[in-house]
Amino acid sequence: MLSDAELERYSRQLVLPEWSELAQVRLQRSSVLVVGAGALGAPVAYYLAGAGIGRLGILDDDTVELSNLHRQLLHFTPDIGVPKAESAAAKLAFLNPEIVVDPYPARFEAANGALLVAGHDLVVDCSDSFETRYAVNAACCAAGVALVEGGAVGFTGLVMTILPGRSACYRCAFPEPPPADAQPTCAQAGILGPAAGVVGSLMALEALRHLGGIGARLTDAFAQIDLFDYALTRVNVTREPSCPDCSAH
């Protein structure tokens, strides 16, 4: 049962015909790890905290820099030099004191991946490197933890939901990372803050759909988002039987 304060806090989602008290309770009982508290992680964490996810882990080993502030909307000028995980957790605690927020000032790597994803119902990967992305995918596949994957650079983005053992994983869709010099990072390519915000918002929407039980829509597919010409394309993918990340699980 939701308290009167919770009913009011979540009223604008509870009135949706597609949402329900049961969906809200599912969120309350969920634990989500957000990998990265930057341009994607900030809107993801904001919306998940606001929506009432019971426990939210925020993982990032960076500190806030001046050049982050135009797009990383949980960090502000006085936060420069503060660990992003701590900065984000502090704002999220203000946003919704009804939930638990755990800051993890650490880096997601293959060596600690199993430990980091254990116990979570969902991981939302908002990291900005292919190395981390493949490590998160592998850890989630091994642990059977659902994953919302995403990335944004320039005016383009990608969002994909992975249900290990049931739908294609990130490596099924992208077997190998692009050569290191072929893929620009945000620092090299630049990005407008709202473009990252749109992609992060779609990732949060997928997470809420999955956790609320109304069904994620981007399984066995990814959304290719072109924010220059405003085109959202669904690209279907299939499970790769010999995928080293998901075929054994």
Binding site: L2, E8, S11, L14, V15, P17, S20, E21
Partner: protein, 84 residues
């Protein structure tokens, strides 16, 4: 939520109308409360919603209920909703 005229059916389940007072609330909380109360009922069950006199809830609650597929009637400050 109260159950005026409580009645127990043959299967042991309450079948009497369920009462809900939203007279101290404003939109959208009036419909949020009614919607969640309906979620806990079975098709055919009745929810009696008491609204404040001359309040917008007397229009919004039955309209939202009908939009959701339920049948709804208003009498005075009472909205009677039968779950679809």
């Amino acid at each position: 939520m109260t159950r005026p005229g409580r009645d127990v059916g043959g299967d042991g389940r309450d079948v009497g109308p369920v009462g809900l007072d939203v007279s101290g609330l404003t939109c959208p909380m009036t419909w949020v409360k009614a919607k969640l109360a309906l979620e806990g009922l079975c098709p055919g069950d009745t929810l009696i919603v008491t609204c404040a006199p001359a309040s917008e809830a007397l229009e919004n609650v039955p309209r939202s209920a009908r939009d959701a597929g339920h049948s709804a009637d208003v009498e005075g400050t009472t909205v009677r909703i039968v779950k679809c």
